[in-house]
Symmetry: C2
Subunit: 331 residues, 2 copies
């Protein structure tokens, strides 16, 4: 089985590649080749199968056709311009998030047109494609009314992949990822940066700021859980999805207070004391628009496993990402 | 005030142009120029203001910029590949319905970037962007889960215009038109052709076939009502719309039986007897997927007027379109 990861050099793409390399199989069948594609050619992990590493522009159809060679059965499309960047640079966001997805659609369609089965496409959509806010517990049929260009582009891509699935060009599963925590590395400019920061920074022994009240709720998942959802979506039977290719996976709705209590359990009260309240109305206004919870009933029914609680999320970071984060930051 | 109608040579575009020419004003301000754009340059109606008639490809950005000259305050974007054609020719549908809308977006954005107010854009979306079926009475926040490429492209265009409105590139109102009846001219290959046909053909003295049961319900509006909604959307205050630029206008949910009763009232029982039951499961399967009703509360609240009953729809056809239809068909 040939697999392609677009965005294979990113945070989640790398973790998925390492996992596929460790497993050697998907859905009980051996992986025969993996293509990792990103803006710059990613580095291949050690694997029992050949790995092609390509760099290029996901919005260029010819480049994307090379990244999805004949025989490709599964494409994991993680390549995206993220929320803050798509908002600051509209043209870049539209180019990568919309025209890039159209290039993926056309590359898959060409394979199906040549007689191969429609490739499975795992698309990472986002909680940012919804409105709703703190009081929301969104049902599975909630309308996507995005308040940012990133979310709009994700909702558009979902519709296009859904229609392409109906037409038999490809076979899409779009996973609306929660805010993924704990991101390794450094704080960034994203409005949601603090959601990882209030755990990661104290676990590194560093002070950090909390821009929202402690009773603020967020819909989150761990990188481990996101990879588990990808693997399930890559091998699942899609017939029960019917027309509706969007999945709200069973993430975790957690308050800041519960996150900080988990931090104290994992690293002691001194770690928790490193988080200083520093209200930021601008940040609160942005993240306050995202839904704090989803019922996620359909995702559970379709076999997407439940995100364990905050202690498991912190433990996963300590096991999987703390050493590399320390090394990256020269600590 | 400068106005552009894209798709100005079509059925609804021509009616809107004639109405603007008769009014001479919009929202109390004089119209100074009207541009009519279509695949082939439309014919201008007599008007108290200059009318530019242009032909070209709506998916070509340079062409669309010419059709939306500096000073344009209102763009009515009716240019589209319709449902059956978009389903049969995926590339054509994507080109016109998606890339065409992107060209319109960019042309408007260029005007706004030059310091002009963001142009008002009236976009005709469709009931075909929803699922739901015969039992549906869809609320205003219903999710769009299209079962056809045309509906998917319309839902995508709505999302893009909504986000462009939020960004201040333009100022969109997307009207999800019901099935517009009674279409003048001839029967066509559209699955919904019979909804007009069972009234138009008998009014011309011709036999016609009914592919669905008489208790089948359809969400409809007249061409007159569609034009009234366009005029309202062209001049309304859009501030109350907020982020949500999609309007389900207050159409009419009507059964085939009520339509045929109206036909008998207008043209006698002999006219009604020209409609022969001829069940067509393929047609019933397609039109049976469209929602038969909408609550349309928000549209009413925002000043979109109510579609009067079936007798008014038939009377409008007799007054506005019967003579031209007879002439076109050599009767």
């Amino acid at each position: 089985m040939r697999i392609t990861i677009l965005g294979g050099g990113g945070f989640l793409g790398r973790k998925l590649a390492v996992r596929l390399a460790a497993d050697g199989t998907l859905g009980g069948r051996p992986i025969t080749e993996l293509t990792l594609f990103d803006l710059a050619a990613p580095t291949a992990p050690a694997a029992p199968f050949p790995i092609r590493c390509l760099g290029g522009d996901v919005a260029d159809p010819a480049t994307v056709r090379q990244a999805i060679p004949p025989g490709t059965e599964v494409v994991v499309h993680l390549a995206a311009v993220v929320s803050a960047q798509a908002e600051a640079d509209y043209d870049l966001g539209m180019r990568v998030n919309l025209q890039g997805t159209l290039a993926v659609l056309e590359a898959c369609r060409a394979l199906a047109a040549s007689g191969a089965p429609p490739p499975r496409v795992i698309f990472t959509s986002s909680v940012a494609s919804f409105g709703g806010g703190q009081d929301a517990n969104l049902p599975d049929d909630a309308r996507q009314l995005p308040g940012n260009s990133y979310g709009a582009e994700k909702a558009v891509a979902e519709l296009l992949l859904q229609d392409a699935s109906r037409k038999g060009f490809l076979d899409a599963v779009s996973i609306r990822l929660p805010t993924v925590i704990i991101r390794p590395g450094r704080p960034n400019k994203a409005a949601s940066s603090f959601v990882s920061g209030i755990l990661r920074e104290p676990l590194l022994g560093l002070e950090t700021e909390l821009p929202v009240p402690e009773d603020f709720s967020v819909w989150v998942c761990s990188p481990r859980q996101a990879v588990a959802w990808f693997l399930h979506a890559m091998a699942m039977d899609t017939a029960p999805l019917g027309l509706d290719r969007g999945i709200n996976p069973p993430g975790l709705s957690v308050t800041v207070q519960a996150m900080l209590d988990g931090l104290a359990r994992a690293a002691g009260p001194a770690a928790r004391a490193l988080v200083r309240a520093s209200p930021d109305p601008a940040v609160a206004a942005i993240v306050g628009g995202w839904p704090a919870s989803f019922t996620a009933e359909r995702g559970r029914r379709l076999g997407f496993t439940e995100q364990p609680g905050i202690d498991a999320i912190i433990a996963a970071f300590l096991a999987d990402d703390l050493p590399a984060t320390k090394a990256e930051r020269g600590m």
